[in-house]
């Protein structure tokens, strides 16, 4: 459902803040610093970073640049090791049963159960291969807007946070009222603020 797919879903953001004068150098340095790092061979739980829209394994932009005319075109890749709650619950209960039997006690203290849960979770996380998600974005530098190719709220929150971390610029989701403010002049914006819902019947 990304930029190059036959069907795509997206929302628009406005970029807030001024771009530095030497923008392309700045962008290259920031993207390199925040590029995606693979965690397949480690035990890290999560990795977030930029990759090429053409290849999710290309985090050095070796095959295609992130610059396309006056656009920055990137994919946000998130790899995460997730343990399903059912699996976690099963292994926690198993460990609790083992400890109760070994110590010959009927019940474990709550704090102990919390401890067990965390250690079981860490043990399981290491066994799960990271699951990837990739979201494309196109940043139109002339207009100061970003098209983000996902309508998932979770993905959008991640983008807002990671874009800010990378470029020190905030993103504002362009819902109709905010888009309207951009499309109207100052008197129009004042008039817009005063309108109330119309009745169509």
């Amino acid at each position: 459902m990304g930029l190059l797919a036959r069907s795509a879903s997206y929302v628009r953001y406005a970029v807030q803040g001024d771009l530095p004068a030497n923008f392309w150098e700045f962008a290259a340095e920031r993207i390199a610093r925040h590029c995606f790092r693979d965690i397949d061979e480690s035990y890290e739980e999560r990795s977030v970073g930029w990759v090429s829209v053409l290849n999710m394994f290309d985090s050095e932009f070796a095959y295609a640049s992130f610059a396309a005319a006056d656009h920055v075109v990137l994919s946000l890749r998130v790899d995460e090791r997730r343990v399903s709650p059912k699996v976690l619950n099963k292994f926690c209960l198993k460990e609790e049963e083992r400890l109760k039997k070994a110590r010959q006690i009927p019940k474990l203290a709550r704090a102990h159960r919390v401890e067990i849960k965390e250690s079981v979770r860490l043990m399981l996380v290491k066994k799960v291969p990271p699951s990837p998600a990739v979201y494309d974005l196109c940043w139109n530098l002339a207009e100061g807007t970003v098209l983000f190719f996902s309508t998932s709220q979770k993905a959008q929150e991640l983008l807002e946070e990671f874009f800010k971390e990378t470029f020190d610029l905030s993103l504002m989701l362009q819902v109709p009222y905010l888009t309207a403010e951009h499309l109207l002049d100052a008197p129009g914006r004042e008039a817009l603020a005063d309108i109330t819902p119309a009745i169509f019947i």
Binding site: L4, A69, T179, A198
Partner: protein
């Protein structure tokens, strides 16, 4: 005002726009004149619609689906005071044609099918061809967003101007007619 409050309080702006767009597309048999671009575009509402009524926990939703239907339930919904929240639209501008679902409250463009372009086999995979393809996809998506912006500006200028009363009367007559005819 923070974004969540703004979305809630001004929810009606996007829904009124989409409802007006349906009215506008039927006013001239699917053709809308875009003053900003000085050209006609085609806009047809089809297949799938979601209507809403009320606020917060009292919000009612009505989903209407069906290929080549007259969207009768949706028209009845309008006559009951519901407004359009999401619709599947066929948009034609010049030689290009898009299918898209537009979700009013958050201005989401969903399942946008841009016009077909030449495949990679025809264009090659060298960096210039790849960048060309990327820019082509990008410009087609930006073109549909820009077209919606132009329609939205057209609506806003009416909505905040003195011509709104007349337009509202026409919309109300269209809603009544839709209920009676179907």
């Amino acid at each position: 005002m923070d974004l969540v409050d703004l979305i809630d309080e001004k929810r009606f702006v996007g829904q009124e726009f989409l409802t007006w767009l349906w009215f506008k597309s039927e006013e001239r048999g699917g053709t809308i004149f875009l003053p900003e671009a000085g050209e006609d575009i085609q806009l047809v509402f089809e297949k799938h619609m979601l209507l809403e009524y009320g606020e917060g926990e009292n919000r009612e939703k009505l989903i209407c689906r069906g290929l080549m239907t007259e969207l009768q339930e949706a028209r009845t919904g309008l006559a009951m005071g519901k407004k359009l929240e999401q619709a599947r639209i066929l948009l034609t501008r010049g030689e290009y044609e898009w299918n898209l679902s537009f979700k009013a409250t958050l201005m989401e463009f969903r399942n946008v099918k841009p016009p077909k372009t030449m495949g990679s086999a025809e264009e090659g995979n060298d960096p210039e061809a790849v960048e060309g393809r990327l820019l082509e996809h990008l410009s087609l998506h930006e073109m549909v967003v820009r077209t919606v912006d132009q329609l939205f500006r057209m609506f806003l200028e009416l909505r905040i101007g003195s011509a709104w009363e007349q337009e509202l009367t026409r919309i109300q007559a269209w809603v009544r007619k839709g209920k009676e005819t179907h």
